[in-house]
Amino acid sequence: MSLRWSLLAAALCLFVLTGCVAPAAVEPPAAAAALSGNLVIYSGRSEPLIQPVIEAFKARQPEVKVLLKAGSNSQLANALLEERNNPQADLFITTELFTIQALARQGAFQAYRPAGAERLPAEFVPPDNLWVGLTRRARVIMYNTDRVSAADAPKSLLELTDPKWRGQIAAAGSTNGSLQAQVASMRQLLGEPATEAWLRGMLDNKVTFFGSHTDVRKAVGAGEFAIGLVNHYYYHLQRAEGSKVGVVFPDQGEGQMGLLTNATAVGVVNRAPNLAAARAFVDFLISAEGQKLFAELNYEYPLLPGVALRPEVQPLTAVRLAQVDMIQATAAFDATFALLEKVALP
């Protein structure tokens, strides 16, 4: 008996010793001339969608230790705002532009114009250089071809409230940045009452809201749901797993709002502890190599001209895109949250 106790006691002591030592490892070491130290990235892109890029960066900069905290855009944005006097992160990557724009206005970022920024489309490099766009993605409707024929698939987001799809639709819930951005865009294009009616229609139609789009795509791929509201690459990821799924780029008809798109973006945090590594990482993200990773691994639309799309990805050139005023939508982001809360979207 006593042997067991003393072993346990010894184990406890060991934990304490390590406990006292381990926090020290979190302190950023003094900045060195060469790139080294910890690079802390807050990412609204979920971990599997950013990890390969980090791995590629680490292969180039083996001395930099990348520490990733992935979460929802708004959770991490909250953290950045709370940490303004005590900055922890070097970089913030979002899955849509409204959050990063809102944070930029609140002084969360420092200006940085990365090498090669001039080659990106101007709309994704703001004049104040507080953030820079990375990739573009489209909001699409994916469907299970066993359950829905291409002809029957809804051609507009507004058709998702049609009672004939009752209980057959999956979507991401209100914490998801892409969905938040979609609602913000719809508020601007259709107005608040129409957007609220659409959200209530979705709820009345027994849409199932998941925590993440991966759940949505898998559920549609398995036929658990007929239709999923996702970003376009989730359709490709599911198709790559061998599922029978189809895709609609919605709202292309006369008088309809056009395809909703948004962009992922990155900003260098104000008073970033490891500025040199942060800048190098941003440079890497918009370099041909970084852009190619996003396009190849995740079927996204790279912003850097000349980087090839995956062959199965439909180019956006032939598609009518919705015209959203970013500044206005950002200003109305609070109203978007209030709306999501008002309709009690899960």
């Binding site: 390590t18 802390v40 971990e47 230790k65 708004s74 909250n78 209100s174 993440s212």
Partner: protein, 537 residues
């Protein structure tokens, strides 16, 4: 120098130390109450209109369902293994308690993958056999959440009622039988009422667990206060709504805790004096097979299925090179990094919780009275404060007042201590109350100072009890999810966080090795506790 013959009745230093601990334990409670009260009335109005009624119904409904389910399952299993000639009851006694090592969200992940409508393994198998989709029970929603949470929380009731069954005086039931009661009526009219304090304690533990549960309900898409607060924290810029919901949830939990503490107070009367002997096991006769089948089914669903599935997934993940690379190199560190993080953060939390519980236990055991009782109960509030609420209060407090601690793993450890200190406090109080004060008095008479007495006499004697408390804190901290998710600094992943990040994105196989390891690591402290518990018979 003259000193009182009893342990220095209320040594001011001891009372101060215990008071400080209680103050520390109550910080989140008061902070949340303040924030909730200070929230804009408009936020209250909006939430009362749209959310609070709905969440209250959902949360209470689930708590009632799970508590009843856990009571029914836990008591019947304890009765079968302790009081009947159930075949293999020596083995069942262990197997039925082991699901405590499996966090409910991991159990939920497994059952969801198996049973999910259309997408799950079983519905797909059935559809293939039948050639068309067949309706199978869904693990989603209210009934699914109730089923999963019952499966993984009944061991609380099982262990507490098992202990009560064992300590029950055989003569009590014998008198009832002699007075003409049938065995069945004896069970209902004598045995169960005598077990009531233990059962109430177990039931209320389960109920508090349901209130605090985040992972399982989020996974099974059933909204309760905890998951709604998490959504508020993760998805909104305004923290006052989260504070308001937290205030309501904590009020609910405090009410339940208050009821539990009353039940605990009454439990003391069940202590048996001398002359205890075990009751003869009831012969199940032709019901033996049925009893065996029921116990086997409980073990199957709550232990064998999760472990077997995790094992199969782990093998699949480890043998697939791409998946193995993902598992080993995920996050910011390798696999070893988050195992280590889990171990040291939970270990440190256990040590701190036990240390902090000492003055409280000493005060309660050596100077019982109003003050000691108040302090001891204040130290129990951690039970009533779900992980998300602790996280919310720590984020706001630490960032404002202790910025150098912010975004260090130590904040995570503090959250564990705040949340699970009640377990250590109870263990310390019970260990100290069983120690005769005369031993300490003898040491003092022989010239030892108070501190020397504590270190040389008291601590060595109560060490087993303290270790039990520490093991419990370690076990529960290891499984903790919501506070860790919200408080962890970048790059600080624990096993629980890893499992959750993979599983939330639907990558079950990648999640399996970490989940399996988490279960295995939990088995060690649990086995220590079970051996101790069962050694008491």
């Amino acid at each position: 120098m003259r000193w009182p013959l009893r342990w220095p009745a209320i040594s001011p230093r001891l009372a101060l130390a215990a008071g400080l601990v209680a103050g520390f334990a109550a910080i989140p409670l008061f902070y949340i109450a303040l924030r909730a009260a200070a929230a804009d009335p408009e936020v209250w109005r909006r939430l009362l209109q749209a959310r609070i009624g709905y969440l209250l119904g959902n949360t209470l409904g689930l708590a009632v369902a799970v508590t009843s389910g856990a009571l029914a399952l836990g008591v019947s299993m304890a009765w079968l293994t302790e009081r009947t000639d159930l075949p293999g009851r020596g083995v069942f006694r262990w197997l039925l308690a082991l699901p405590l090592a499996i966090p409910a969200y991991i159990g939920g992940i497994v059952h969801l993958a198996l049973l999910r409508p259309r997408g799950g393994v079983i519905p797909q198998l059935l559809a293939e056999l039948a050639g068309r989709p067949v309706a199978a029970p869904s693990p989603l929603g209210f009934w699914g959440a109730a089923f999963i949470l019952t499966l993984f929380s009944y061991p609380y009731v099982y262990l507490l009622s098992g202990a009560a069954f064992r300590s029950l005086h055989a003569s009590l039931e014998e008198s009832a039988r002699t007075l003409g009661r049938s065995p069945w009526r004896t069970l209902w009219e004598v045995t169960l009422p005598a077990l009531r304090p233990g059962l109430t304690a177990g039931a209320l533990l389960v109920a508090l667990d349901v209130l605090a549960e985040y992972g399982t309900v989020a996974l099974l898409r059933y909204e309760t206060f905890s998951s709604a607060i998490f959504v508020q924290l993760a998805g909104r810029y305004d923290r006052s709504a989260a504070a308001v919901l937290s205030g309501v949830l904590v009020a609910l939990a405090v009410a339940i805790l208050w009821a539990e503490l009353r039940a605990q107070g009454r439990a003391r009367f069940t202590q048996m004096e001398s002359g205890w002997r075990p009751a003869p096991p009831l012969a199940l006769g032709r019901w033996r097979a049925a009893g065996f089948a029921v116990a086997a089914a409980a073990v199957f669903a709550s232990l064998l299925v999760p472990v077997a599935v995790l094992l199969a997934w782990s093998v699949a993940a480890v043998t697939d090179p791409a998946m193995l690379a993902a598992v080993v190199r995920t996050g910011s560190q390798g696999f070893g990094g988050f195992v280590w993080n889990s171990l040291w953060s939970s270990g440190l939390a256990a040590l701190l919780a036990v240390t902090l519980s000492l003055p409280v236990g000493l005060l309660a055991a050596r100077a019982p009275g109003r003050l000691a009782r108040f302090i001891s109960r204040t130290c129990q509030v951690g039970y009533a404060i779900p992980g998300v609420v602790i996280a919310l209060s720590l984020v706001l407090l630490v960032n404002r007042f202790l910025p150098f601690l912010y975004a260090t793993p130590l904040v995570v450890v503090v959250a564990y201590v705040l949340r699970y200190m009640p377990q250590a406090t109870r263990a310390s109080e019970s260990a100290l109350s069983q120690l005769a004060p005369s031993l300490e008095e003898a040491a003092r008479t022989l010239g030892r100072t108070a501190l020397q007495t504590l270190l040389q006499v008291t601590l060595p004697l109560i060490l087993p009890g303290l270790l039990a408390g520490g093991a419990l804190v370690f076990l529960t901290s290891l499984k903790e999810l919501p506070a860790t998710l919200l408080l962890r600094p970048a790059g600080f992943d624990t096993l629980a966080v890893r499992v959750w990040i993979w599983a939330e994105d639907g990558f079950y196989m990648q999640a399996a090795p970490a989940a399996l390891l988490l279960v295995l690591l939990s088995v060690a402290p649990l086995a220590f506790l079970l051996r101790r518990e069962q050694g008491r018979r």
